[in-house]
Amino acid sequence: MTDISRKNYILVIDALKCFDCKACMVACKVENNVPNGRWRNWVKPAIGAKGRRVQFQPGQCMQCEEPACAAACPVRATYKRSDGMVVIDPNKCIGCGNCVTGCPYGARFWNPITRLAEKCDYCQHRLVRGEEPACVETCPTKARVFGDLNDPASKASALMKKGRLVQVKNTLIDTKPRIYYTAGTVQLNWPKEPTLPGDVHLPASFWKIKKNNNQ
């Protein structure tokens, strides 16, 4: 069994290898029993100057270093783990949905069947079996490279070491995403401004304050 406590998971995506076949989306949906109309991952087209598609960008939960979703969670069900993943403890989650609107990348959804928040967990159950996440394995061109930064032999480590990587961030907030894209990836226009709904009284300046505190 894989010991996750010594891992430092990272995902590097080569958007230039993606032709939008959406195998990753269906694979994830089946593997994780994602309900109809919801997705844990995506392929977003980047639109060029002439209003035409120029690139297809796979993505999913960015496993941020400073996750807005974790800050938005009133019961600390969402937290950052030592292996680099942002996870949800389903025993703590109350299904309030604050994290869903709190995520600047729209990576979370509210599962109407479990009535809990849900997102990409890199297919933890597959990792435990020694398999790669479903989206990574099924990809025709292997546009997603998943691996352990603590393992210098992993492909992901090699890519990180090689550098020339970029991030596709929401310009409204820097949550320090941990998904990297290869150079040449187009900046997407993330429309989503993180919001805090409901009765959770966090000041609007929360993100900024937290960032300042960390710096």
Binding site: F19, A23, H125, R129
Partner: protein, 729 residues
């Protein structure tokens, strides 16, 4: 880690599974395979990883099914299956919903109401087979055995339908291919003597016209093309529509539909005029350069520009670049070529460019088929004296394939009752009601029949029209014979299937069905074997293949990839690659492709072009619940300029009308299509209420498309229809 929240397994189960998986890895898949109970129930708590071959489209990619307690939980790609490069696409992943689909046919059904009314009576298999036997007998006696038309899709068991048809006594067997690609095959056979396999992986320059490899996926071509691109291969796309292939290409030219031949004749002209062809190769291996030189003299890039609307300087530049990259350069042969009335000649003009590049049989070019053939169990069909002389559609096109026929022509023959009546129709896993242009004619044809039998997994539109509907299992529940696959430099391989899970409901494989019918018709001696015995016989000279197939579901034969033709003759009349085709002269076809300008689009109308995306397999996948989430309905692509004139905006519902039919669907107003052309996906606007996911969604291409055909091959021509577009809401 704690118990999961979304129907996942618990930590304890994780441990059990992972322990098992580890043990299984040590033992190797072969041991796992032996765990499949051939009969009886699956033991509880077993987690199995069983190989199979995908059947969600024609590609046949390798997969591994994860089976928990007798239920498939996930289909993963088979990492060692080279043809699919260790991948499984969206449709492959959605295969689980073909297996576990509440819309599946569960038991034999007999039509009770009018055709297409959807009233059925459940029959037992004995009743169903007795009835089918009786009807086949009556039709055979009254109209001869050729009075029954057979049609089977590209399925590993379709060979048994053809075998049954032959021993029953009908040579009226048509395949799906004449609604798809026979004109391409015709063109390349008549140029190179065989259908080449493109080596896209090693190519440096690829022109793609009339093909869309990043959406209409072909393994390994599509994947290899992206890999080649990353290694610096240039991809030039000619398409009236900005497809995903166009989006990722180095160049996209919005060519005027139906003018591809003008472009390729002009390329030929430049290659010859500027002596940029492979002189040694052309001199040694081709026939007809002189005739070709004279023929293309007038087809200059300046002339072509006026036809295809691609600037002459670009045509000239592309010809030069192509030649500089040769022989690792190609015009991609494509797949579905059911587009124009001169479709074979259009592909001939592309094949000729390939020949001039000298790319035959070498890396990055077009490669010959590998030596990998499996035998079918031989048989000698009985002779029926009263049978007519020829197939029913004979003479309706110049050079049809005996083994494929032409659906379009056969349909016309049935409607006309000429040259002789056909009153029976037997279909297996093919859906001409959704793939044959001009659906009203298909309905008219079916209404001429005395009895129609359809074997399929779900109530397709074709099944919906039948008299007797018999349920077949999906690929994950079946044992199949061995079949050979070709695919670029990646393979020659053999594939087969063993059941991954037990057969659901009362579904029965077509092998069993036709064997039972043969027995009842006193033809049992032609089916006096089990599927296992058949496979043993196929593999009797291949001990290694037998082992590999048992373990993985496939076997790779390593054979020569390039230089296969050294010292060999080509299978043409001149025994060379025919730039000038001598047989065409005999058949009264143009020996060199002669350009005829397509009729211009009438004022106020559009040319309708059709196609698909990576989530659609013609008429068979749009009802899949997982794929329907990606594309729930089709849309009409319309350029903003005509959209403005018609006061149409994205999301409006329009009526699209042709001379033969109409359909209503939503509009996508987009710059990604020419202003004189509209586009829609296949697979929607179904008639069958048995397809509960897709019923009522979008419009059907075959309802709107006129049924023209390629003059030479009898292939359907589906881009010859003009339509009007009218806003409804």
């Amino acid at each position: 880690m704690s118990a999961n929240y979304n129907g996942h397994i618990t930590r304890r189960q994780f441990l059990q599974f992972s322990g098992m998986a580890a043990a299984a890895t040590l033992g190797g898949p072969r041991i796992l395979h032996a765990l499949v109970p051939s009969k009886g129930s699956f033991t509880q708590d077993q987690v199995l990883r069983l190989p199979s071959i995908c059947d969600m489209c024609l590609n046949k990619c390798g997969l591994i099914a994860r089976v928990e307690k007798g239920v498939i939980k996930k289909l993963d790609p088979h990492p060692q299956f080279l043809k699919s490069r260790g991948m499984l696409c969206a449709r492959g992943n959605a295969g689980i919903k073909q297996l576990y689909d509440p819309d599946r046919l569960k038991y034999p059904l007999l039509r009770k109401g009018a055709r297409g009314e959807g009233r059925w009576q459940r029959l037992s298999w004995t009743q169903a087979l007795d009835l089918a036997t009786e009807k086949l007998k009556i039709i055979g006696e009254k109209y001869t055995r050729c009075g029954v038309l057979f049609m089977a899709g590209s399925d590993l068991q379709s060979t048994f339908v053809n075998r049954f048809a032959s021993v029953f006594g009908s040579y009226n067997i048509v395949s799906h291919e004449s609604n798809c690609l026979v004109s391409r095959n015709r063109a390349y056979l008549d140029t190179f003597g065989e259908m080449p396999i493109p080596d896209t992986l090693n190519s440096k320059y690829i022109i793609m016209a009339g093909a869309n490899c990043f959406e209409a996926l072909i393994t390994p071509d599509s994947i290899d093309m992206l890999t080649a691109k990353q290694k610096g291969c240039k991809l030039v796309v000619l398409d009236p529509r900005f497809t995903k292939t166009a989006a990722l290409a180095n160049e996209w030219h919005a060519i005027k539909p139906g003018t591809d031949m003008a472009f390729f004749l002009a390329l030929t002209q430049v290659l010859i005029e500027e002596k940029r062809y492979d002189e040694k190769f052309v001199d040694e291996k081709t026939y007809g350069l002189e005739q070709l030189r004279d023929h293309v003299r007038k087809y200059t890039p300046e002339w072509a520009e006026k036809e295809c609307e691609i600037p002459a300087r670009d045509i000239r530049r592309i010809a030069r670049e192509l030649s500089a990259a040769a022989p690792a350069a190609m015009v991609y042969p494509g797949r579905r070529t059911s587009d124009y009335e001169d479709s074979t000649q259009i592909r001939r003009s592309m094949a000729i460019v390939n020949a001039l590049l000298g790319n035959w049989d070498c890396p990055g070019g077009l490669t010959a088929a590998r030596e990998i053939k499996v035998k079918a169990k031989p048989f000698d069909p009985p002779f029926y004296e009263d049978n007519p002389e020829e197939r029913v559609e004979t003479g309706r096109s110049l050079m049809m394939f005996e083994e494929e026929g032409s659906f379009k022509h056969a349909r016309d023959a049935v409607i006309e009752g000429k040259p002789y009546p056909i009153k029976g129709f037997f279909t297996y896993k093919t859906n001409p009601m959704a793939t044959g242009a001009n659906r009203r004619k298909t309905i008219e044809m079916i209404n001429k029949l005395d009895f129609m039998i359809t074997v399929d997994i779900t109530m397709s539109d074709t099944a919906w029209m039948a008299d007797l509907v018999l349920p077949a299992p999906s690929y994950l529940e079946r044992m199949d014979p061995v079949s050979a696959l070709q695919g670029s430099s990646a393979c020659g391989c053999l594939v087969t299937r063993d059941p991954v899970v037990r057969t659901l409901f009362e579904s029965r494989p077509i092998f069993w069905i036709v064997s039972e019918l043969a027995n009842r018709l006193a033809l049992g001696k032609f089916f006096d074997f089990s599927l296992e015995e058949y496979r043993q016989e196929q593999l009797k000279d291949w001990p290694q293949a037998k082992k590999d197939l048992k373990k993985d579901g496939f076997h790779y034969k390593h054979s020569k990839i390039y230089g296969v033709y050294e010292g060999k003759i080509y299978k043409t009349l001149s025994k060379k690659i025919e730039l000038y085709n001598q047989r065409y002269v005999e058949k009264k076809a143009d020996p060199l492709p002669v350009y005829k300008a397509p009729p211009s689009v009438p004022e106020g109308k559009f040319r309708l072009v059709v196609g698909r995306n990576a989530y659609i397999t013609q008429g068979s996948s749009t009802n899949n619940a997982l794929l329907a989430e990606l594309v729930p309905e089709n849309e009409l692509w319309l350029h903003p300029k005509p959209a403005r004139n018609l006061a149409i905006t994205s999301g409006d519902v329009v009526e699209v009308t042709s001379l033969v039919g109409k359909g209503r669907l939503k509009v996508r107003v987009t710059e990604e299509i020419r202003p004189d052309t509209v586009y829609m996906d296949s697979g929607f606007g179904v008639l069958s209420k048995g397809l509960s996911t897709v019923y009522g969604k979008g419009a059907s291409i075959v309802e709107i498309l006129e049924d023209r055909n390629d003059i030479i091959s009898g292939n359907m021509a589906m881009h010859e229809t003009f339509v009007t577009v009218r806003k409804i809401t």
